[in-house]
């Protein structure tokens, strides 16, 4: 049938851009698949494609039913010919459009513009096809109905009603059920032998195909990133982004550049962080409790200079139960909370815990033994986490 060849054409046309894209991006294939937008668009494309297949199958089913074969043959050829012409035009138009967009290098949702518009135009195209097919289908089922309604129509025997659902599922009409009734009878339950709904059957094939392609993608050709590779890429990418951001940000403080911040805005910000995160172990006023040491006296377990406090908060002392907060707060925030803690010294809150550690003397240089130890224990822990 001519119609069939037309549909095949249509599918080829629709697939062509996909193949074209696949060839283009062979080297970059894995990055595309790790892009959420790309995956979403692909899923939409595939879903619509299934819908197109189902609809055209349904139409074929109607066309092939004896009655319509005769009546609509000529008319349909003309009509769908026109439809297809429109599709061709749309397709080419969109391709041209997409190609002109290649030059720009700004990205949309992590996809280059070319790919994005390419996929978008495929979706648009598919939507148009679906609408057209659906219209054709509706016209046919409606005509079928009107034939039934008109008593003087072409002397055809009363044609049973076929709903769109029946057509979708390729079901036998309820009135004709006897023809496919099996001789099974279980406690009065009888069984029909309807066709497998085509959309279900082809959907099943499609999922199997997806399964095979998936396994090949990840485990045979190795084009897909398995989880560790994916993770390493994610971390590397984030590291670059953060570095890029920090280069331009005023937020960039570390233990070599941290200063005691005395501005009230900074101390307020530090106080907020302290109340939300530190009071459980160090008490509401920093007086210390059964867990953490008193922060209001001038005795320190790990040094009382702003640099020492900054480092203690940033890297923690995991062996003594102080966790590292560097993944929780920005360097500036850590500087703020460290400054707030330093501002607490000498506040003499009630119920203060007994002093622990060494008396800190602002003027004196930090004990050399202590500082080397800090460097030695925090550095490996840090690198371990990053790996």
């Amino acid at each position: 049938m001519k119609y069939m060849s037309n549909t095949k054409w249509l599918f080829l046309m629709m697939m062509a851009p996909v193949f074209g894209w696949a060839q283009q991006s062979q080297s970059a294939g894995s990055t595309y698949f790790s892009n959420a937008l790309f995956n979403t668009l692909m899923v939409v494309i595939i879903m619509l494609l299934i819908l197109v297949i189902v609809l055209s199958n349904s139409i074929r089913n109607i066309i092939q039913s004896d009655y319509f074969k005769e009546r609509y043959k000529k008319m349909r050829e003309m009509q769908s010919g026109k439809n297809l012409m429109v599709l061709f035009l749309v397709l080419f138009a969109s391709q041209v459009q997409a190609q002109t967009a290649v030059a720009a290098d700004s990205r949309i949702g992590g996809l280059d513009q070319f790919t994005f518009y390419f996929l978008l135009s495929i979706i648009l195209l598919e939507v148009i096809v679906v609408i057209l097919l659906f219209n054709i289908l509706r016209t046919y089922t409606k005509n079928e109905l009107s034939v039934v309604m008109q008593p003087d129509a072409q002397a055809a025997p009363a044609k049973p009603e076929r709903t769109i659902m029946d057509v979708f599922n390729a079901s036998v009409e309820i009135e004709k059920e006897e023809e496919i009734m099996l001789d099974h009878d279980y406690d009065g339950i009888k069984e029909l032998d309807n066709n497998l709904p085509p959309w279900w059957k082809y959907g099943f094939y499609l999922t199997i195909l997806v399964g095979v392609v998936y396994l090949i993608h990840y485990h045979v050709t190795g084009t897909g990133d398995l989880q560790v590779a994916e993770y390493n890429k994610e971390v590397a990418k984030a590291k670059l982004e953060v570095e890029e951001f920090m280069r331009t940000s005023a937020n960039n403080v570390d233990e070599t550049s941290v200063k005691y911040l005395t501005a009230s805005t900074d101390l307020d910000a530090g106080s907020k962080i302290f109340v939300a995160n530190c009071v459980a172990c160090h008490g509401k006023a920093g007086e210390g409790n059964t867990v953490g040491p008193n922060l209001t006296d001038n005795y320190w377990l790990h040094g009382g200079s702003i640099v020492d406090i900054f480092k203690t908060v940033k890297y923690g002392w995991p062996d003594k139960g102080m966790k590292s907060w560097k993944e929780d707060f920005s360097p500036m925030q850590i500087a703020q909370v460290a400054s707030y803690i330093k501002s607490l010294v000498g506040s003499n809150p009630p119920n203060a815990k007994a002093a622990q550690g060494d008396l800190f003397n602002e003027g004196a240089a930090p004990a050399p033994a202590d500082s080397t130890q800090t460097g030695a224990t925090t550095a490996p822990a840090d690198s371990l986490q990053k790996k």
């Binding site: 279980y186 309807n194 984030a238 459980a280 929780d328």
Partner: protein, 709 residues
């Protein structure tokens, strides 16, 4: 051929029906309490027996094995007799089955409340109950096959195919997953460890959903929908294809519960692709059910039984589409460990299992009591209130799950996590409350149904033995020339059973054998050492209290997780974990690298009053850990059991383990004392602290570079 007179046994059906209603009410009530506990922690009552960690397994076991279990048996005992034109094989076996199953339920509820648990989800029951389950299941199978052998119907109807598949597969799953080594009457260790235990457990867990919550209910659907609608089944061909495809494919999909974990990549990929392939076979059942109603949709609007069943089948379709979607890695990365999964499960449980059961009850009770339903109005009210309940349950949980996951993954531009874990918990409170409203509505519906059915029972008169007659089967079968090829196996129940067992065994064998035999699947890490006796004891308490119901121990390879919890988990870290404790839900934070994060005193205060250390926490208090002594004398037996399982404690270590244990306990007591906390070294809290402080330490301390490929 002679016409034989016999009767159907309705009494056993009635018993199972009553049990279904009773346990349904109990199981859902416990679920509601657990839901309330999540935003009103005081409802844990500061008692071990009613704390969330123990109630949650009681809830899941009660609704799965007590409510749905009795529902299965109710429907099977009713339909099997009629589909085979034979009375149940033995009334005695039926009675043993019924009372045995109720005994198991009671023992389960008691033992779980007392903290006797294996710590494997949906398989928490300890070994003596496991054995009892096996025996009762054999009685069920014996009774079922006895009836099949004595049938007066040549061919087995599709419902019975599903019953047979259920019978053999549940037996296989239960036995393989429950292999454990007993330490005492109430304590055992899983035979498998770590990654292997996880694979076996989720092969079981996933297929418990498949073969306890799905296949038997599909069988029931195939009987009760055509009966209630008085319509022929839509497509015999579809039945055949979707049945075999479903049971074959389902078994493979277990690893989709373990995506982005330490399970080998190939196993994860199998889990993904088989889940995707499952869409069509699952939907085959839905289509066949819904299209059977072709031509009687006007009746569906009137008939309460059909109404419930249509919603049930639709919920089934939604859940079985959502499942494969959740198995896609990109979706799973968001949804796993969140309440999204809880919503997904409850669409299946409340919609599919619940509503189908209600439909069957509304159909069966009036029929067996020769009367009409007491009140259609009440039944309609139940229908609407139940549907609304499902929506109000599911929607907030979907929303909340997605929201919490997004918060977990949020980074500031400076590269810090945007939210503390606790921030994400406090944001959940309104959603937990909304969910509880949905649950309350649903439970209210069930109470209305129970009232309605009790009234119906009072109106009618029960026929215990329903008289009927049928032709005996003649010895020889002369097949029709045009018989479908599948008719052959429908005449051969034993062959049917064997073939279905082979079909369901394939997936498991292919996934397990390499995971157990190929060394490279679980690379060893030399710094990972067995637990000390005190840590082992602490771990047992961790399992006993059901900590795994809220805390995972599996850091997935995502930037957001390694930033929050530390290096992602490696397969080699879990080789001494009998059972594994990866968990499936993060109501609280992951604990895989909890060791050393906080001082001992923090944990002590936190167990006594979680809010003191984590303001706003919804964790219940565990004050009894501070009061109760651990059993130091029992440690020798535990060490010996571990040695049997291949954990390399030195020869004769069981003799000195107790001394080692007390030495470590004294150290922890001393460290607590330094922070001003006086405690006896013998208290359970000391063992728990020892365990928590060990978590994840092995590779933290390791000098070696980690294999990150």
């Amino acid at each position: 051929m002679e016409l034989q007179k016999f009767s159907y046994d309705n009494k056993i059906v009635k018993q199972f029906a009553y049990a279904t209603m009773l346990w349904g009410l109990v199981g859902m009530l416990v679920g509601l309490i657990a839901a309330l506990q999540l935003f009103i922690p005081a409802l844990n009552f500061d008692l071990p027996y009613t704390s969330f960690g123990r109630l949650r397994p009681i809830h899941t076991n009660a609704v799965i094995f007590a409510f749905v279990g009795n529902g299965i048996f109710m429907g099977v005992y009713y339909s099997l007799q009629r589909l085979l034109k034979a009375r149940m094989f033995s009334d005695f076996l039926s009675a043993i089955h019924f009372w045995g199953w109720q005994l198991i339920i009671v023992l389960a509820a008691l033992s779980l409340a007392l903290g006797y648990t294996t710590g494997k989800e949906y398989a928490e029951l300890e070994w003596p109950i496991d054995i009892l389950i096996t025996l009762i299941w054999v009685v069920f199978g014996w009774n079922m096959f006895g009836t099949i052998i004595r049938r007066r119907e040549r061919h087995l109807y599709v419902a019975i195919w599903f019953y047979i598949a259920t019978l053999v597969t549940v037996a296989m799953l239960h036995i393989v997953n429950s292999i454990e080594i007993p330490v005492s009457l109430t304590k055992s260790y899983s035979w498998y460890a770590g990654v292997q235990d996880a694979l076996v457990q989720w092969w079981y867990g996933h297929n418990a959903v498949a073969f306890f919550l799905t296949t038997p209910y599909l069988g029931l659907m195939y009987y009760f929908i055509p009966k209630a609608a008085n319509r022929p089944v839509y497509s015999y061909r579809l039945s055949i294809i979707h049945f075999w495809a479903l049971i074959f494919l389902y078994i493979w999909a277990g690893p989709h519960h373990l995506l982005y974990t330490s399970v080998p990549d190939w196993a994860q990929s199998l889990g993904v692709v088989f889940s995707v392939m499952l869409i069509a076979p699952s939907w085959g059942g839905m289509i066949n059910g819904l299209l059977t109603l072709r031509g009687v949709w006007d009746k569906v609007r009137e008939d309460i039984v059909l109404k419930f069943m249509v919603v049930a089948v639709t919920a089934y379709g939604m859940a079985t589409f959502e499942g494969p979607m959740l198995s896609l890695k990109s979706v799973n990365a968001i949804a796993h460990f969140t309440d999204w999964i809880v919503a997904h499960v409850h669409v299946g449980a409340l919609g599919w299992n619940g509503f189908l059961t209600f439909g069957i009850l509304y159909y069966l009770i009036p029929k067996m009591f020769n009367t009409r339903l007491y009140s259609n109005k009440l039944a309609n009210l139940h229908f609407w209130i139940g549907t609304l309940g499902i929506l109000l349950y599911a929607v907030p949980m979907y929303w909340a799950g997605f929201m919490q996951s997004s918060m977990w993954k949020d980074f500031t531009p400076e590269g810090q996590l945007k939210w503390q874990f606790l921030d994400t918990v406090t944001k959940m409170i309104p959603f937990y409350a909304a969910r509880a409203v949905g649950g309350t509505l649903y439970l209210t519906g069930v109470i209305i149904m129970t009232y309605n059915l009790i009234k119906t029972v009072k109106m009618g008169s029960f026929t215990a033995n329903e008289e009927t007659e049928a032709m005996a089967l003649s010895g020889e079968y002369h097949s029709h020339a045009k018989d479908h090829w599948h008719r052959w196996i429908e005449r051969k129940p034993i062959q049917f059973m064997i073939v279905s067992l082979v079909v369901v065994a394939i997936g498991g064998v292919i996934e397990f054998v390499p995971a157990f035999l190929v060394k490279s699947n679980i690379p060893t890490i030399s710094s990972v050492k067995p637990y000390t006796p005190l840590e082992l004891e602490g771990r047992d308490i961790y399992v006993r209290e059901g900590c795994y119901t809220c805390h995972s121990q599996m850091i997935r390879p995502f930037r957001s997780e390694t930033a929050r919890y530390g290096e992602y988990s490696k397969a080699g870290e879990f080789v001494y974990d009998h059972p594994f404790q990866w968990g499936s839900k993060r109501t609280g934070p992951d604990l895989a690298r909890e060791g050393g994060k906080y001082p001992d005193s923090w944990h002590y205060n936190h167990m006594l009053e979680p809010n003191s250390m984590s303001p706003g926490s919804i964790m219940p208090t565990y004050s009894w850990l501070l009061d109760d002594d651990f059993q130091a004398s029992g440690i020798g037996a535990k060490i010996r059991a571990m040695q049997t399982l291949g954990v390399p404690y030195p020869e004769g270590y069981d003799k000195i383990a107790e001394a080692d244990m007390m030495k470590q306990a004294e150290q922890i007591a001393a460290s607590l004392k330094k922070d001003g906390i006086e405690t006896d070294a013998q208290k359970e809290i000391v063992a728990v602290i020892a365990y928590l402080q060990r978590l994840g330490k092995d590779i933290k301390n390791a000098d070696q570079t980690l294999t990150t490929k």
